[in-house]
Amino acid sequence: MWSDLLNLGIIVSVLAATIRIATPVLFSALGEVTAERAGVYNMGIEGTMLMGAFIGWLATYESGSSLIGLAAALLAGAVMSLIFAVMVISLKIDQIVTGLALNLLGSGLSTYWLRAAFSNMEKVPGITVLRTWPVPFLSDIPVVGPVLFNQGALTYLAFLLVPVIWLFLFRSRLGLEIRCIGENPKALDIKGHSVAARQYAAVIFGGAMAGLGGACLTIASTAHFVPDMVNGRGWLALVIVIAGGWRPGWILAAALFFSFLDALQLQIQGVGIAIPYQILLALPYIAAIVALMIRRRASRAPAMLGVSYRRE
């Protein structure tokens, strides 16, 4: 049965699934790295993704338009991270505690809202999910075509965002300033630039991306919202940022690694290999711990990550 996994068709389908599954965590991790480079450790990604998944789904259902749904998810993510930003940047509340509170808020609010809005319905309605969008010509290339160029629009966007974020962080003025805040905020403050304004921008962008990442799970994938459906992907995004050493290229590699495990798991179940599915499902979480054991956290983290900036 293991040999079943080694035929070309299966390999192509595992790789294509890897790319597809990487999409939501890639959005979230790229947003998070922007915030973390600005010294803000937003641990509320899981809850933010949940709100994005829920609001995106609800808005698509109410309006019948996926575009409106995506815009609503971006907004939901931005609002969640605005709450976070006010609490940690302006009020200087502990970032870890606030992040945890945000997760609980996202989980509680989305579950309650779902139950309140659809209490008199037998079954929660589904939406029409986004279809795949094969790139002309490129998708006809054998192997590479179906793996890379027969995906949904959001997947292309997520992968395109990798070089964009890299260019922004490492080749733009604002990106340099954001990285400076993560290492030495005082230097920027002394020059008369607002540390808080840049942190707000970075955190809200990060939250909007997490909202979009969450929306991928409903609008581009399952058509339904289920309570706590993000199921740890927000936390994996945090692991991916650390494992990727806070650099977009390596973050992409780390995201692909974790989604490969997930894709493989689906396929192993598909061909009927008799490993209990619980072990397969736990695999990414075990791998996350191992990845963090190998790549120690302190090494490349921004020096002021998680520390609120206070003027003396």
């Binding site: 609490m87 870890i96 505690v97 509170a101 139950r115 711990i289 003027r311």
Partner: protein, 361 residues
């Protein structure tokens, strides 16, 4: 210092907090949460007064309701204490959630090996098993942090997911599955292993008293023992502690193990005091709520007990609220998070004060 003077007043940071700051923050947070809550009731199309009344009646309306509130508070006292111990040392143990499962599982494993032992032996075994199970999972996260510098927040969250899959593995056509059952659950535990009910005609069980004892023990441990001193010192100044010759790596592992052990009790008491069988899905959320309880209780055992009892009212009253006013009981989880956020904000704001500026001639 930024000068933000409006009409002769200025916001300043206090050097010390007034003793009433905590109480004030709590009242303000409660009031704000009530307002948001009323908004959510109206959004759900319910009459807020009716919903609040049902919530309170369900939680405190009769002797039975109060006893059930205490039943709901029992695991929350324990997970709140677990978080308190770790948070005091600035170790962010988010793993009480998983340690609850580990405690329940290990207790079940130990107790089911006993056969027909008398009740006191069974209950002693349950307590010991729960402590060990929780300590193992908490200690594992401690080792990962102390020896491999793995951030404890992330490792404990990952372990939370892993342990739930492990339980599912054991319960689904596994060695613990109840014979002939379709559900992921064990058979009922024997009567001798069930925690005795301490108030007739209610579900209030011995675990509640154990939880209060645990709170007293943690209080004494934190304030009177040398370990408690080290925990508090680790929370305020780790470097100084290191200079005193305390082995920080050992301390991290010990604190995480103790924190896990206390959370483990919560799981075992739920299984042997309330459910009377181990099943997947009924232990979820206890650990995450414990984080809120610990913070609202200001990381003090007495505060934790008080906060857990208040949350017990909410959780217990939610059922009647759903029946009477149609508001989904899932509201409580949103409300818990909202209370926490407002409390954090009010607490941070209490650090500041409005002061009238004096004119300097």
């Amino acid at each position: 210092m930024a000068i933000t003077a409006v009409m002769g007043y200025r916001i300043e940071r206090r050097s010390t907090r007034s003793p009433f700051a905590w109480a004030l923050a709590l009242v303000l947070a409660g009031a704000c949460a009530l307002l948001v809550c009323a908004g959510l009731f109206i959004a759900a199309g319910a009459d807020p007064w009716q919903a609040f009344a049902a919530l309170l009646k369900g939680g405190l309306g009769s002797k039975r309701a109060i006893a059930e509130t205490m039943v709901k508070a029992t695991p929350l006292i324990l997970t709140g204490l677990a978080c308190t111990i770790a948070f005091r040392a600035r170790l962010w143990n988010i793993g009480a959630e998983g340690q609850v499962f580990a405690g329940a599982m290990f207790a079940y494993w130990c107790q089911s090996a006993l056969g027909d032992a008398p009740a006191p032996v069974q209950i002693a075994m349950i307590v010991i098993g729960a402590l060990i199970g929780g300590a193992l999972l908490g200690g594992l996260a401690g080792i990962l942090k102390a020896r491999f510098q793995v951030d404890e927040v992330i490792s404990t969250v990952m372990l939370n997911y892993i342990i739930v899959y492990a339980l599912s593995l054991l319960l689904q056509n596994g060695p613990w599955t109840e014979a002939g059952s379709f559900f992921e659950q064990t058979a009922m535990v024997p009567d001798a292993a069930q925690l005795p009910v301490i108030l007739a005609k209610t579900r209030l069980h011995l675990g509640f008293l154990f939880a209060l004892v645990a709170a007293a023990v943690v209080h004494v441990m934190l304030l009177r023992s040398s370990l408690g001193y080290e925990i508090r010192a680790a929370g305020s100044n780790l470097r100084a502690l290191e200079f005193q010759g305390v082995k920080i790596t050992r301390l991290i592992i010990v604190v995480m193990a103790i924190s896990g052990a206390v959370a483990g009790l919560a799981g075992a008491f739920e299984v042997y005091g309330v459910q009377h069988r181990l099943k997947s899905g009924t232990l979820g959320g206890l650990g995450y709520t414990g984080i809120i309880i610990a913070i609202l209780g200001q990381l003090r055992p007495i505060g934790v007990v008080a906060a857990a009892l208040v949350f017990g009212v909410l959780l217990n009253g939610a059922t009647l609220m759903q029946i009477k006013s149609g508001v989904p009981s899932a509201l409580i989880y949103a409300v818990e998070a909202i209370i926490l956020m407002f409390f954090l904000i009010a607490w941070a704001a209490s650090e500041f004060r409005l002061r009238r500026l004096h004119h300097v001639e």
